[in-house]
Amino acid sequence: MSTSTVTEPVPDTEVDEAVVGKINYRAPIVNALAALITLLVFGMGPTADAETTFQVSSGSTMFSIPNISLPSLITILVLGFVQLGAAAYALVLVRARRTVPVWLHIIVGLAFVISFLVYAGAGRSSVIPVTTLLAGALALSVPLIFGAMSGVVCERSGVINIAIEGQLLIGAFAAAAIASRFASSYAGLVAAPIAGAMVGALLAWFAVRFQVNQIIVGVVLNTLVIGLTGFLFSTVMSDDAALWNARQPLSTIKIPLLSEIPIIGPVLFQQTILVYLMYVIVIVLQFMLFRSRWGLRTRAVGEYPKAADTVGIKVNTRRVWNVIMAGAIAGLGGAFFSIGSGLAFGREMSAGQGYIALAAMILGKWNPKLAVVAALLFGFSRNLGNVLSSIGSAVPSELLLMLPYIITILAVAGFVGKVRGPAAAGTPYTKS
């Protein structure tokens, strides 16, 4: 019966090297690249006796701190070697198949940014205003943070929100118009989230009720808002600008004591109520998403809606309310463009920030805390360009305008691991 000539493979008894995954050299390569740019590009700039001066204090703080002058070349070299050391450490870690800790990336990032500042300000009479740099960065980040929080709420429950851009814009419009009409900036603060929520409701209606492709609905809504606000701007608002589009800036509220802390005080605690609301939203969202019944159900609906359905969670109802709430958050953020910055409404004044907010959300791995960091990174790099061109740096301003995008690419390539969004984002849920 058995005429088999087949030699049976014996179980592998040879001792040979364990098969393991390929080593991912991304972290050390990116770190080394930053070090090389620091040493070879920034290091070539300043002359041996050049100094860079940083202005740390601003007039209003209780403590006065003198300007800090650093010897440019030595500082750059020291920071460059710090980055090189970090790259070497990262190399050792990945070769030992251990993960590279986040703080190492933060050190490299900080060292790179500081050495760039030292390079840009080397040998100039003008000082680098640290407080202005950071305060401006926060200001530019505010709509991004609101937008990213809106994206997190929406996508965590399984609906892709491309309409953040439109929600920001309509928020800016509604805030400006209503604040102007009632001559109260706080009226605008109420109108903005309502307007955003209405766009969110449209998104929910099409995406959840009619199951239209969520990305297409989002893009269409953005176009709709641009058209609608543009039309009203050139008709109603222009006809009676005094009634409908007068500037109604939100007033700055200084938090006692906290606002007196050097650097941090003027940056974080001399802001409008809108920015304080943002702090609250971020903290509450971070807590609620991971520690509350609402958060658990929202995440379940975004990851595996059918599993949520089988335990009696109403998937589509949950999605609709979350999408509307996300719209309200983005709408509130839009108010920052108009009343939050003390400006009247201008055509398309959100200028694509909604899409950058979406990028910040992805960079932040759909996590509120990390998305804030990502949004701050975008805001900082944009403001860095502004500040450097205003102090007359040698770096061409066109190059500085590219900064946010270069930083995005570096961040995506080097600092973010594999990103995995909510599994069911973009997929409508139907009972089969």
């Binding site: 087949v6 098969v19 990851e303 009696g312």
Partner: protein, 529 residues
């Protein structure tokens, strides 16, 4: 709790999935619902669980009529369900998964995770599950995930527990453990509805058996009925459960895997230096619990998965690094695991699906244009040869039943002269008639002298079809069982079961021999070879 279904009917469009089904489950009873795939078992249970609205009929619990608007209502009434595809969010922890929907929470809906954890531990201790409430679902083996599902149902005080094909993803040993758990649940007064198409398990555990065919109850059977009796009741005619085949006459080694390695997305090997030789004219079955690298191995042979080391030799020629087309041209026939997404293009016609790999050959095309008449002629011949039942060869393949669609895939893959035939789960979800046909064709291909590799998680299929059985565990082949060398009683399933859990062939045989001498073997059990 006593559960009664009266005249349940569920209609989808023109399809009557459930036709006036009556069923009574007494308190503390294990009631098996036996039927082929597509007989309407799952539909019935989804009606019972509130996922579907019945078109007609009613559900009674302790003689009180119920009306379920959703699973929430069913759960509140004391019905728990363990779905075939687990309803667990992969990124959640065990405690979060169990709590979902019924979260212990304080003011403002803040979760009380300590309570949730405690709850998991209590139930888990009661049944000796040993489950870490903080483990992530995606890191747990399927057997453990299933226990999480059971804990989930019990944590909501389920009095009636529905288990939908619970053994499909388990090793035989895990199945035994599940059967023990079901026994304990029964002791504690829980009624169990156990849905399956596996005859062996039904006889082992059920108190009563209801058989469903084409949406109708066709009868009740006693657990003492033989497997053949149950099978003919289930299918509606007498069936032979064994595959009718002559002993293999293997020739020289025609196909060889040498230290084949495939890395998964996380960089760990899913196929780990596998060595396997397959002779011309023999069927080697790759057995194992789902997810132990068999699917990836099959895909690597055709080139659908990238290999990360090792050689794939077909008649001495190394195929590693070659494109899929080159491998097809080298004479590999391949039936993928998921027929509906990978085996055929759902929106293409039957005729088009039959030439997916040949459309560019001279036979069917001239220059850039396809010759529809030749494609149609080919379809007529192939469907005749493979007994495909259809209305029109230009109908979409998605209009065919699973069995007929699979025959189309087989017809396409076997229509070329083959030097190697690889099929993954060739009979998954098919009716008994189609299974017989598919097995017959596979044996015929072997008898033509083609080396054949079959990946299957169904132990019954493996045992009846294979000439040799290679058991895979965590990407490695733990051992190879030669069916020809097994005694007259056939291959010992318990040995295979232990191997599927990673025990080597020698150890598994030793352990089974020891167990057998310790307890007197029952007359209807196989004797270790």
């Amino acid at each position: 709790m006593k559960l009664e279904l009266q005249g349940i009917t569920k209609v989808f469009g023109s399809l009557v999935a459930n036709d006036h089904i009556d069923l009574v489950v007494e308190p503390g009873e294990i009631h098996a619902l036996l039927g082929e795939n597509g007989a309407g078992k799952s539909t019935l249970m989804n009606v019972l669980y509130g996922l579907y609205d019945p078109s007609e009929g009613q559900i009674l619990l302790d003689d009180v009529p119920q009306r379920f608007n959703g699973p929430g209502d069913a759960v509140a009434a004391g019905i728990g369900m363990v779905h075939q595809h687990f309803m667990l969010v992969p990124v959640f922890t065990v405690a979060e998964s169990v709590a979902l929907g019924y979260e212990p929470a304080g003011p403002a809906g803040v979760l009380e995770m300590a309570k949730a954890r405690q709850h998991v531990l209590e139930i888990s201790e009661r049944f000796g599950f040993e489950i870490d409430p903080d483990a992530k679902i995606e890191d747990l083996p399927v057997g453990v995930q299933q226990r999480v599902e059971i804990i989930k149902a019990l944590s909501r005080d389920a009095k009636v527990l529905i288990l939908d094909e619970p053994t499909a993803v388990l090793t035989p040993q895990e199945t035994d453990e599940l059967i023990n758990i079901m026994g304990e649940l029964k002791e504690s007064g829980t009624s169990i509805v156990f849905i399956t198409h596996k005859l062996r398990e039904v006889r082992a555990i059920a108190d009563r058996i209801t058989v469903i065919r084409r949406g109708k109850v066709v009868g009740e059977a006693s657990p003492t009925s033989t497997e053949t009796e149950l099978a003919s009741l289930m299918v509606g005619r007498s069936v032979s459960l064994a595959v009718d085949k002559e002993p293999a006459e293997p020739g020289d080694v025609a196909f060889e895997l040498d230290k084949l390695t495939v890395l998964g997305s996380t960089g760990t090997p899913v196929v780990d230096k596998v060595k396997l030789k397959v002779a011309a004219g023999e069927i080697v079955c790759l057995a194992g619990v789902q997810g132990n690298g068999q699917s990836e191995l099959a895909e690597a042979i055709l080139g659908l998965a990238d290999t990360d080391g090792g050689a794939i030799r077909l008649d001495g020629e190394d195929l590693a690094g070659k494109s899929v087309r080159e491998r097809l041209e080298a004479g590999i026939g391949f039936v993928p695991e998921d027929r509906s997404t990978d085996g055929a293009i759902a929106d293409f016609s039957i005729a088009e699906n039959l030439v997916l790999d040949l459309y560019n050959t001279e036979e069917f095309s001239r220059g850039v244009s396809l010759s529809p008449s030749k494609v149609a002629a080919n379809a007529n011949v192939r469907t005749e040869e493979f007994d495909v039942r259809f209305t029109d060869i230009h109908d979409k393949i998605s209009t065919l039943s699973g069995g007929n669609a699979q025959k189309v895939v087989l017809a396409r893959e076997m229509s070329r002269p083959l030097r190697l035939f690889v099929a993954s789960q060739p009979t998954r979800g098919l009716d008994v008639g189609s299974i017989e046909f598919v097995h017959k064709r596979i044996v015929a291909e072997r008898d033509k002298g083609t080396p054949v590799i079959i990946v299957s998680t169904e132990l019954d299929e493996v045992v009846s079809l294979a000439d040799r059985i290679a058991v895979m565990y965590r990407g490695k082949i733990v051992g190879i069982v030669d069916v020809a060398k097994a005694g007259p009683m056939g291959v010992n399933r318990d040995v295979l079961g232990l191997m599927m859990a990673g025990v080597s062939l020698a150890d598994a045989e030793a352990q089974i021999a020891k167990d057998a001498s310790a307890t007197t073997p029952k007359s209807d059990e196989e004797v270790p070879s």
